[in-house]
Structure formats: C-alpha cells, structure tokens
Amino acid sequence: MDYATNLALTLPEVVLGIGGVLLMMVSAWGGPGSTRAVSWTAVAVLGGAVIALLGPAGGGGEAFDGLYRADAFSTFAKVLIYVATAVSILIAPDFFRRTAGDDLRPEYPVLMLFSALGMGMMVSAVDLLTLYVGLEMQSLAAYVLASFVRRDLRSAEAGLKYFVLGSLASGILLYGVSLVYGFTGTTMFDGIAAAYAADAAEPARSLGLVFGLVFVFAGLAFKIAAVPFHMWTPDVYQGAPTPVTAFFASAPKVAAMALAVRVAVEAMGPVTDQWRQIVIFAALASIILGAVGAIGQSNVKRLLAYSSINNVGFALIGLAAGTAEGVAGVLTYMAIYIAMTLGSFLVVLQMRDVNGIQVESIASLSGMSRTRPALAAAMAMFMFSLAGIPPLFGFYAKFAVFDAAVAAGLFPLAAIGVAASVIGAYYYLRIVKTMYFDEPAPAFHKGDEGALQGGLIAVAAVVISPLGYLAIPFLGAWSMAAARALF
C-alpha cells in the first residue's frame, strides 16, 4: 500500500492536523483579536473533516500496515465527535465574554481541533499503541481546556484533578496493554483476538491475559467515567468552563465509548463471557450510582455530571449484550445522548442572573417557565428525554440498548436497569419541577438567547422531539452498518 493511499484513508486526521497547526500559527501571531476568525475557521476545518469522511476515509479499510482502520464504525463515531466539537467551539465566545476574566483566546478552538484529532485516532485505532497515542492526544488537550479560565481557582483545580487522575488511568491502561502485549506477543487487535481465542480453547487459562483484560477495561472505564472510576467527573464538570463541560460530556464520551466497544469486540471478542461480567457490573453500578448521586446535587453542572455517569451505564448495557445489535444500540444511544446533553448544556449557558452573570445553582432555575417559557420548555424536553420518557427521542435510545440486552437473554440486567432508571427519573423531574412548579426566582436574566445559541437549542429540541422518530429508519440502518463492521 503506497503512502498516498494511507494518507487518503486518514484524510480527516490530516485535515484536522494541518488545520490545527496553521490555526495555531494564526493565533500565535494574531493574538486575542483573531479569536472569532480562528473559531469559525476551526468549525470549517471540522466541516472539512466530515466531508473527508465521504471519501475512502469513510470505510476504505486499514492504513499504515494495520495500525489504523477506516470503517463504517469509525465514520459513525467521527461524525458525532466532529459535530459535538464544532458545537462546543461555537458556544464558547458568548460564555467567556460574560464571565469575569479574560475574553476567549484563540487557543481554545485550536485545542479543540487537536482533541478532535486525537479522538478520531481513538475510534480508528486497531492497535494498542495507536489507541494510546490517540487517547493521550485527546486527553492532553482536554487537561488544558479544563483549566482554561486561568484566574478561576475551580477551573485550575478541575484541570489539575483531571490531569492527575487521567494520568493514573493512562498508567493503568498502559499496564494492561503491556500485560496483553507480553502474553500475546502483539499489539494488533486481530492478533490479540487470535491469542485470546487460542487461550480460551485451552483448559488451563493464562492468568496474565485475564489480568491484562481487566486492566485495559479499568483504564477505559476511567475514560468513559463508568463506576467505579467515575470520581473525577463531578468535580471536573463543575470546575471546567461550561462550554468545555459540554464538550467533555459529549465528544470524548463518544470517542471513549467507541474505543471501549472496539477493544471489547475486536480485540477481546473471543472472551466476551469474561468481560461481560465487568461490563454488566460497571453498567448497573453506573446507572444506580449516577442516579442516586445526582439526587442531592444543587449545582446543575454537577447534576449533569452524574447524569452522564448514569447515561454511560445505559450505553454499556448495549455493550454487555456483546452482539452487533448491542453495538448498534450503543452507537444509537450515544448519538441521541449527544443531542440531549448538548441541548441541556446550551440551556445551562443561558442561566444568568439580572446582571448577566452566569449562575449554576438549580434553585436559580425557579419559575423559568414564566420568565423564559420557550427555554424552559426546551429544558423540560431534554430532561424528560434524558429520563427516557416517551414520546421523546431519548426513549428510543434506551429502547435500543434494552432491546439488544433482551435479545441476548440478559433479562435480569434489563429488569434491574429499567427499574433503576426510575431513580434517575426522580432528579430529572426535579429540574422540571423547579422550572414549572416553583415560584419565579427574584432575579433571572430576561434576555434572548442570541440567534446562534437559540438556533442550536431549537435544533437539539427538534431532534429529541417526537419528530426524531422519523430518523429511526436512517439511524437504525446506519448504526447497524457501523456495528457490522466490527463483527
């Protein structure tokens, strides 16, 4: 395979890489004044990366001697990642202009681009080292983004916390990788799968392989914030600037989830029965802990952090099925989850007191249905959708993963999972209750959303409204095609 073909297969990453480096130059010379131009150009670069997926990069096969694969699965994940990243770039300038401190600096979109580049590598990796490089590339950018408001103590704390715990998780993952490499003799997924298959056929199983599997899953669980590796999430989500939190809750979640799915199915598919136990535990623990932990929260960002833990648990139910349908369910779940979570954070960005200062307490939402009825209606839709109440589209997300679990015969998992989702419904209802049943808070900003943010909220609301059901045939076929690529 010649070099040109390799580059064609990795075109989205090439576009993002070159675009990122050039924009970094622009921002270095242009200074803060270039923020607006750099932001829009970064969005355009992401759009270019999506267009690049139409070519061979959208499903052309392996590049660089089997280190990297472009298939339907990676394409699905990449589209979600790039869209979520673009939205996270677009919502930032307003937020930074309103908060005390510096205006947005042009490094923000550039870091986002590099993070997106890393995530693209993560979802395309079919080799443990490609995987690691992609993961670190994404994480390094994310650490900086978390502490982007330099003078804010909480933001700095969030960045540091994320960095320390993220490094620990990377260490655990690397340790698992080294064990897997040591016992299989390869870092390529297909070779690892063959080694696991051969091992599974033997009566005396290799303990080292099982250990490797456990450590790899532990490292991945940290990245998707599944229980019991979730502790960093609430602090980081609360401390990071809200647009960055929106980003954390969307794009890297998709990337890490896609990565986990690929490793589980492609590299460790022959030992599905062994990792299924881990996934089932992580799924149920995440659902329950995410739901129970959210109940006592008074900060809306912390609440959404627990909500993301909860949602990851539901997505993992699809993975626990271990079938193509289950993987399709995970992808469907993540696609709908992104619309819901970005929509929620867009509304959180609109929470301002009379002076236009951002507020984050749930109590400040009081009576929002009177002061800003359209915004409250959108938020109520997001909350009901996150709780999985039909006819909103979030119901279909849960339906897809539970259907896969039932098809795989995991009835207790499905029954406990749905029962625990009632706990989750409680705190989503609490937001609706605060907005609709409580008397209006004395001071709430009455301005309009601005065309861009209002438009984005409206788009998210339409996607998760019953109109979203019209997309089911398309979404179902596409996610199924993506899942088939792994089997």
């Binding site: 539970f402 419904a425 609706v432 059901y469």
Partner: protein, 516 residues
Amino acid sequence: MDGFPILSLMLAVPALAAIACLFLPADTARWTALAATLVDFVLGILLWANYDVGGAQWQFVEQGARFGFFAWDLGIDGFALMLIMLSVFLMPICIGASWRSVTNRVPEYMAAFLLTEVLMIGTFAAQDLFLFYLFFEAGLIPMYLIIGIWGGANRIYASYKFFLYTLLGSLLMLVAMLYMARTAGTSSIPALQAYDFPADVQTWLWLAFFASFAVKMPMWPVHTWLPDAHVQAPTAGSVILAGVLLKLGGYGFLRFSLPMFPEASGQLTWLIFALSAVAVIYTSLVALVQADMKKLIAYSSVAHMAIVTIGLFAFNRQGIEGALVMMLSHGLVSGALFLCVGVIYDRLHTREIARYGGLSINMPRYALFFLFFTMASIGLPGTSGFVAEFLSLMGTYQVSTWIALLCTTSIILGAAYMLYLYRRIAYGEITSEEVRGMSDLSSRELWLLAPIAAAVLWMGVYPESFLAPMRKDVAVLLQRIDRAAPPSDSNPTPGNPAAARAMQAHHETTPGEAHH
C-alpha cells in the same frame, strides 16, 4: 367510512389544537380547546355510528408507516370504541369545568389537557405493542404537569408519587414487551393475541404486565398514589384521572393479560381475587372515615376498580361485560362526583366535609344532581352502577362464591360511605354563614352535569346500547381464554328438565286439578 383515517384525525385535531393553544391568549385558548374537544366528540359519534356491530373484530384499521421498532397501526374493537367514546365525552366537560376555576397559565393548561386527550385516544386505538406503550407512558408527562402546576397545596409530592409509581410499573412491562416482540417476531397486538407463549414464560410476562396495570388500575396495595393525586389535582384533572386514566389498567388486562397469557391468567386468578377482595373491604372502610371529600371518592374508586378486576378474571361473559360496564359507569359517575366536589370547592375553597352541611336548602339543584350521582355510585337500580355491579358479581359468583360474597359488601359499604357523605354535605341545618352564601348551580355547571346524568340513566335503563358493540369481542376473548378458565366452586344445581317435563305432562293429562 372505508379508508378514511378517522382515528388519525381524532388524534390530529387535539394535537394541533394543543400546539396552537400554547401561542394564544387565555380566552382564545379556552375556546380553542373547547372547540377541538367538541370536534373530537363529534368525530367520536361518527365513529360509533359507523361502527359495524357484529362485523369485523378490528375496524377503522389504519396501517401506517413503520418507524424502526413500531408501526403506526391503528384500529379499534368494541372495547376500544366504548373507552374512546368515554374519553371524548368527558373531555369537553373537563374543559368546561376549568373555564372559571383555572385562571393561571391557561394556555399551557389547555394544551396539557388536549395532549392528554391525544394520548388517551392513542392508547385505546393503538394496534402495535410499542405504539401502545408510547401513548400509554407519554400520558405521564401532561398529567404530571397538570397536578404539579395547577394542583393543591401538597401538589409536588403528589405529582412525584404519581409519576414515579406509574413509571416503575410500566418499565417492567416494557422489558416484557421487548421479549414478546422478539419471541413472536411481531409487535402487532392482534397477532400477539393469537400467539401462544409457553406457560412458564407466560407467568413472568403476566407478572410484568401486572406490575404496570395494577398500579394504573390501581389495585390494593399499590393504590396509594391515587388518593394523593386526586386530592391535589385540579377538578378537571381528577375527572380525567378517574374517568379515563384509571381505565387504562382494566383495558390493559383486557387487551394484553387475558388474551395473550390465558394460562397465566387462569393460574393467577387467585391473586387478582385476593387483592380485589381486600381492596373492596379495606378501601371502603377507609373511605368511611375520610374527612376530605376528594379522598373519599378516590378510595371509592379503588373499591370500584376492584369490582372491575374480579369481573375481568371471572372468565365468563357476565363477569367481563360487567367489568366493562363498570369501567364506563365508574368513568361517568366518579367523574361527575369530582365535578360535584369541584362545584362547591370553587365556592368555599375547601374539601373538608365538616365545613359544609345543609346544602339542600340553598342549593337544591346541586343537591339533586349530587344525590343522583351518589345513588349511581352505590348502584341503585336504574343507574349504570347497578348494571355494572350486578353483572360483575354474578360472573364472579360462578367462579368463586366466597369472593362474590366478600365483594358484594362493596354495595353495602358503598351505600354507607356515600350516604354518610351526602348526609353531611347536603342535609341538616346550615351552620355557617359562608355556606349560606353559596349560590346554586350556574347554567355552565348545569350543562356539565346534565349530560353525564343522562348518560348514566341511559346506561342504567338500556345498557344494551353499550353492550352491543362489545358483545362479539367478549365472545372472541372468551373463546381464546376458555381453555384456561379457573375451576368453579359454585356448582349451581342444574335445572332438572326431566322432572319439569314430567310435571308439565302431569298437568296436561289431569286438567281438572287446575281448578283446585
């Protein structure tokens, strides 16, 4: 009416009106809601008029587009027709009942009610398992908002309780539905009604559906959300809750549990009977000591719903028809009773029984209507309640004499708590000035109560109109479940035709004896 999508139209009219209401000022929203519900009522009458009694089992069938996991398949049989009629009949009355009493956020209120109407009709008309589930569960959202925004003092607790209780039940049902659709390879309700699941699987599926319908019904001991929700909901919310939403549980048993899992239904009949018997006696006694009017009627609802469940699980024609008439009758009567409570609540703003008394003196017309509905609730012959209780209990007697004995106390206890309530409200001397100042029914309130009273009388005097559309469906259902019918303990002595003939022959041969 072949091919005309009347059911979709009945869903579309209130749905569009609901969206329109959100953007209208209060007064226009009221009129829009009233117009939309009346249009739906007219459509409902057309539906009934064009329903071919004794014709195909499923009529007005619409096979729509398929959206991945569910299809837009609508169609009704006699059961659904009657319950849709009940919904569209009560809906304009609900809007009318809220005309003056709701002044806060009227557009949203009207939109929530219209949305509820869409979801109720959809639940009854859905022919696809998951379409049914969508409508069934989506109904939680508007009702949650109605209780929470326009409810009484303790509305937030009640709204949470209502939502989470019913959600837990229906989610377990969802898992069962997923399994059924997987195993049978179809999500079409008519097809699933003909599919035989293995008996051991049926038990699990039955229990999962039971979890949902028992809460909706509500059956003892998961009825506790109902008194809270009723007490806190605004009047029209109570009417729709008692009138239609409680019927979803009975409809679910009828549509899913019985025909889809006949063996499990037969085996678990004892559970239904036991819970229902407890409910009849326990909740009637609880109703007797209530100091709050709405709570009293709420508990009486639980007792009446228990009569529905025993009738349904009697596995014979009288029982099932009685249960159906009970659902319709209770929908009308308890709805009307809540309206009666609403009438005096609007004047005095309290539901405490002790604050009233002597209303028959200064509100004679009101006292008359209230007495009529009280009697209908007790089951006085000539009212719909009598037909319902008589048929249900007669059906039950053929299966279990003991349960029939226990459940018949509902008539006695019902008379006790309803008459006691009526005595305290309407009879005696007027003791307080504020009660003396209360005015009699306005013409608007008269127009709300009179149609219900007419319907109750009609159903009590000539129930055939309501039974005819359902007769064939009952036969189909019985044919399906007969093989699993539980053993009977009543052993009625069969008539002795031989002896009767001999007696007759004897009379004919000796005509002279007739003179003695």
